[in-house]
Amino acid sequence: MKDNKRGGFRVGAGRKSGSGCFGESTKVIRVPTSRVTEINQYIRRPQAGNTDIVMLPHPTPQKIQLKLFDHKVPAGFPSPADDHIEKSLDLNEYLITKKESTFFVKIKGDSMIDASIHDNDIVIVDRSKQAKVGDIILASIDGEFTIKILAKHLSLPRLLPANEKYQPIVIQESMQFEIWGVVTGAVRKF
């Protein structure tokens, strides 16, 4: 860079900051022309105590029309329940723990009637639950679905109905058997 000796900024040159009539540094601002005098009068008047807020009169007062019932004004005693709002009950929440692996299945017949599962009930089946002996399960045997109680007989699984009229099903090794899911609940409309 060229070391220029002429022109430009020189230390100590010019009017000192705060040497004006306000006794401090100033700033240029834009104000409406119509109100220059007013603002001048305001800032040049002697500061009285600590009154920071000064209302300037509007040069041309305007009327604003307010409708009488424009807004609801909350009046009266506030609801004593306001602090106790909770969300309302949701049956999904009650019946389903694992949303992703839960399915609904419709029941036909009375083979599970003693387990309170009736014809036309909708049962909730969770595939993520590990089936234990004694659970009501949805299983497929050779391509057919059935809902029964899981039991064991000489290390082979057995499916028990909940109705005396029906026989237990013993699963043979030759059968294609798969536990589809565990029945976790039932719903019925009257």
């Binding site: 949303k99 992703e100 692996s101 609904f104 419709k106 029941i107 036909k108 595939r127 391509g143 059935t146």
Partner: protein
């Protein structure tokens, strides 16, 4: 590390969940109008049925091997897809749902990515009976390649991690697969690459990025980088807005009448504009196309497309329909047996960036009406409020002869068990 989780034969796997009779059998799923094969079980692949083949070309194979043929059941697939994606999302902080049956996830927060991929795989099988393959790699292209390896070679047990192999071993694997298997390399690009002697995945990996960029395009250069483990494609967690919306269907039976085509166009416009509004965009052009069957040789094949510009970008069903019907009128010919028709919305812009016309022709209240209709249809049933020319049960509707019930989305179609 990134992983690509992909459900094997997704549509077939969905059907098998609710129909155990299909397990271990050759099964194929047909496209929207029962026209082509769009998903095949492994057994069907072995018989030699190809992806995308028209059904009539494999009739004989299907009869011979007693292949189970099903129409597609999109409500079921969509529901199971969202269950799959939600289950996977539990294992990661970053997920990009890439298609109905695959997603990229970041495994950076896990110390042993292969192990966690195994857990994901077992979870999806236990909870939803979905067989999946997982490819793990430092980049999307490598994760996708890993997924391909996991699918093609049974020895990996469904999970292939590129980082567990030495460079030499990985190169050996890449030499086996054709360059067409690389993510982002389509048929056309494959041909171009083969012309410059890039035939295998390894050839592409070893090619010179700068000359590839110059002779082809920058995107292919990025693919080469990604094959070498250099990150170019980030996970896109918010799906980008569509630049074009196409709604079209083949008819269940041929259509010659003009009023029926009007019904079809109305139905497609309603569907397309719903998508348009759901991504908060406006369209400035609408195209309509109609075509007769290209397979019937003796008849004169007619197909035509016309594009109508809209005065103002809009998402208003009525205005877009008006343009579409103008277009339809201009290309409709008498005495032709039409088999397909469709609507394309293009010139899409964000609704907040739209410029208003100086003399608006659009009645703003009409625009509001559409949103009110959407709200009502959303709250009740998909088509509670319809336009006059939109039929509830179209006579030209798609053929779906062997569709399984909507087990998970309709109370009337639940699985019935005794």
């Amino acid at each position: 590390m990134l992983a690509l989780v992909d459900v094997n034969n997704f549509y077939v796997s969905c059907e098998r969940l609710f129909n155990p009779k299909l397990i271990n059998k050759a099964v194929v799923i047909l496209s929207n109008n029962d026209g082509c094969i769009i998903s095949r079980s492994d057994e069907a692949k072995l018989i030699g049925i190809k992806m995308g083949q028209p059904l009539f070309k494999v009739k004989e194979l299907i009869r011979q091997h007693n292949v189970q043929v099903l129409s597609s059941n999109y409500p079921l697939y969509a529901d199971l897809s969202s269950r799959v994606m939600r289950l996977i999302s539990g294992f990661t902080n970053h997920q990009e749902v890439y298609s109905i049956d695959e997603c990229f996830i970041s495994l950076d927060e896990h110390k042993d990515p292969r192990n966690i991929a195994m857990v994901v795989k077992e979870k999806l099988w236990a909870d939803l009976r979905m067989p999946v393959c997982v490819g793990i790699g430092p980049t999307k292209v490598l994760a996708k390649f890993g997924n391909h390896c996991a699918k093609k070679q049974k020895k990996w047990d469904g999970v292939f991690a590129t980082y567990l192999l030495s460079e030499a071993c990985l190169n050996e694997m890449m030499d086996v697969f054709s360059v067409g298997e690389v993510w982002g390399v389509g048929d056309k690009l494959k041909q171009k690459l083969e012309l410059i002697n890039i035939k295998t995945v390894l050839d592409l990996k070893g090619s010179d990025v700068i000359s590839i960029k110059n002779t082809l395009n920058v995107n292919v250069g990025r693919i080469v980088h990604e094959l070498n483990g250099i990150h170019c494609f980030p996970l896109e967690q918010v799906a980008p807005k569509k630049k074009q919306i196409i709604t079209s269907r083949s008819f269940g039976k041929t259509v010659t009448d003009y009023p029926q085509l009007v019904e079809a166009v109305t139905t497609f416009v309603v569907r397309a504009t719903l998508k348009l509004r759901s991504q908060d965009t406006l369209c400035s052009k609408v195209s309509v196309f109609i075509s007769s069957s290209p397979f019937i040789r003796d008849s004169n094949y007619y197909h035509n497309l016309t594009t109508v510009g809209l005065a103002n970008p809009t998402s208003n069903t009525g205005l877009i329909l008006k343009g579409s019907l103008e277009g339809l009128r201009s290309i409709y010919k008498n005495n032709i047996s039409y088999v397909k028709c469709g609507v394309i919305l293009s010139g899409l812009i964000n609704s907040e960036n739209s410029q208003d016309n100086l003399w608006p022709v659009d009645d703003k209240r009409k625009g509001d009406l559409v949103f009110v209709m959407d709200k009502i249809n959303n709250r009740f049933n998909g088509s509670t409020l319809r336009l006059g020319t939109q039929p509830l049960y179209p006579t030209w509707g798609a053929r779906q002869l062997k569709k399984s019930p909507s087990y998970t989305t309709s109370w009337k179609e639940l699985l019935v068990v005794s």
